[in-house]
């Protein structure tokens, strides 16, 4: 039995490979339908014969006993595997700035996910800001949903992106997509080397202060979609003792790595090898993207002493700045010890303070019901 955690591009790719080799496959995902974040609402399907466990949170796992503990609305249960593929995807990188906790400020993929779940954007004044190729794709989506995209603010410089455009000549498919997006977004104000410095409002977002070089200006908006890149969801992999984690690379890398993992899990290394060159090319593109959208130092200096960094426990920048490590921050301030378990503040703190240690991972990797945890102790004895 091959168990795959995550039904995004990588999970779907892995399931395809494994099924082609005749393996029995279970796919577990936190969402109601397959597709992950990138294909949310596009009715993607898993290959025939795959058992799909939806709306399921993987709470814990045991690499020795080869089991996962999952929680669904119906209750908790254990799933046994012979091979396990973790295709847990990415979340967005959120970095603190004054006012970033105000209602009305979302991630970029976040606002897209909410719009796909039915949130009306017609006539809403939306700012899209932060960094990465997702900004343009999301802005295009918001506009098609009737939003008034007041500005796309990309922190990367024009020079950096121009250099990246040259790289794209080696990836004609990507170039075509980019040209298409640019033409769709014709008329939407876009600024490079521009970022959100602060948000203001009484009990909800009303306006943002933006900076470009030494110039500061403000925009009155209804919603802000702000994210600074992607962070891989590695918690389960770390819990299970994986020492080499592939990370985030975008949809093409995910598909290839998923396909490869599926073949390897089914014992067909020969088929996996055939995909290595194409996967390598996708990885090169991902690396070029990372370089092009590298964060400028100003972004790391947006938080003020009283800006909250850990939103679960309301820990301010001031209380964290002398901690020296994430572990010390947890012990002294409860940073990263709330329900998200450091998923939001962990990457932010590493980016802000350069702390070497990752958030340590212990079961349960997500908040779980007490009955679920009882399932573990029962099965352990």
């Amino acid at each position: 039995m091959i168990v795959i955690v995550g039904a995004g591009p990588a999970g779907i790719g892995a399931a395809q490979s494994a099924r082609e080799c005749g393996a029995e496959v279970i796919v577990v995902d936190d969402n109601a339908s397959p597709g992950g974040q990138i294909w949310r609402g596009e009715s993607r399907t898993l290959p025939d014969g795959v058992r799909f466990v939806s709306c399921a949170r993987v709470v814990s796992g045991d690499a020795t006993a080869k089991t996962l503990l999952i929680e669904t609305a119906e209750g908790a249960r254990e799933i046994a595997y012979t091979k396990l593929i973790l295709a847990t995807g990415s979340r967005e990188l959120f970095l603190p700035f004054p006012g970033w906790t105000l209602p009305g400020i979302f991630g970029v993929g976040a606002l897209q996910a909410l719009a796909k779940a039915g949130l009306p954007l017609r006539r809403k004044r939306v700012l899209v800001a932060g960094s990465g190729p997702l900004l343009l794709a999301a802005a295009d989506y918001f506009r098609r949903k009737g939003a008034d995209v007041v500005l796309i603010a990309e922190q990367a410089s024009r020079t950096s992106l121009a250099r990246f455009a040259l790289t794209m000549l080696r990836h004609p498919g990507k170039l075509l997509q980019a040209v298409q997006l640019q033409s769709n977004l014709f008329g939407v104000p876009a600024k490079h080397g521009c970022w959100v410095a602060a948000a203001e409002g009484k009990d909800r977002l009303e306006r943002v202060q933006l900076r470009r070089g030494t110039h500061t200006f403000s925009e009155e908006i209804d919603y802000a979609a702000i994210a600074w890149g992607l962070v891989p969801n590695t918690e389960l992999a770390l819990l299970l003792g994986c020492d080499s984690i592939a990370g985030t690379g975008g949809v093409d890398v995910s598909l290839f790595e998923g396909r490869i993992a599926g073949f390897l899990a089914a014992g067909r290394e020969d088929l996996a090898r055939e995909l290595y060159p194409r996967c390598e090319k996708a990885l090169q593109f991902a690396a070029a993207l990372d370089r092009a959208f590298a964060l400028r130092p100003e972004i790391r200096r947006l938080a003020q002493p009283e800006t909250i960094v850990c939103r679960c426990e309301d820990v301010t920048f001031r209380r964290l700045q002398d901690c020296g490590s994430f572990r010390a921050a947890k012990l002294h301030t409860r940073c990263g010890m709330g329900p998200c378990q450091g998923r939001i503040c962990g990457p932010a703190a590493r980016c802000l303070f350069g702390w070497p240690d990752a958030a340590s991972v212990r079961p349960p990797v997500l908040p779980a019901r007490i009955e679920t945890l009882a399932t573990v102790s029962t099965s352990a004895h």
Binding site: G104, A110, R311, C340
Partner: protein, 91 residues
Amino acid sequence: MGQNGLQGSAAELLVIIRINGKNFEAPANSTVAVALLMAGQTTFRLSVSGEVRAPLCGMGICFECRVTIDGQCHARSCQIPVREGMDIQTA
């Protein structure tokens, strides 16, 4: 937005949910977070120091969208589809 219902196309299937004791119509295929935002609810929860908070990540990671659904607290509203008769309490 008025309390007498949420906007949506006539063809859309609607369910009735209760938000803080008041009835609202919500598209049957939406999530609780979206239904709350459509109903004009800007605050979902209060933080440990009393700040107002609402969804951030939209994908079940950040736990900022926590509300109480049918008596069960700390439910992630962005990951839960609406259901007829659902009773939702926010901060």
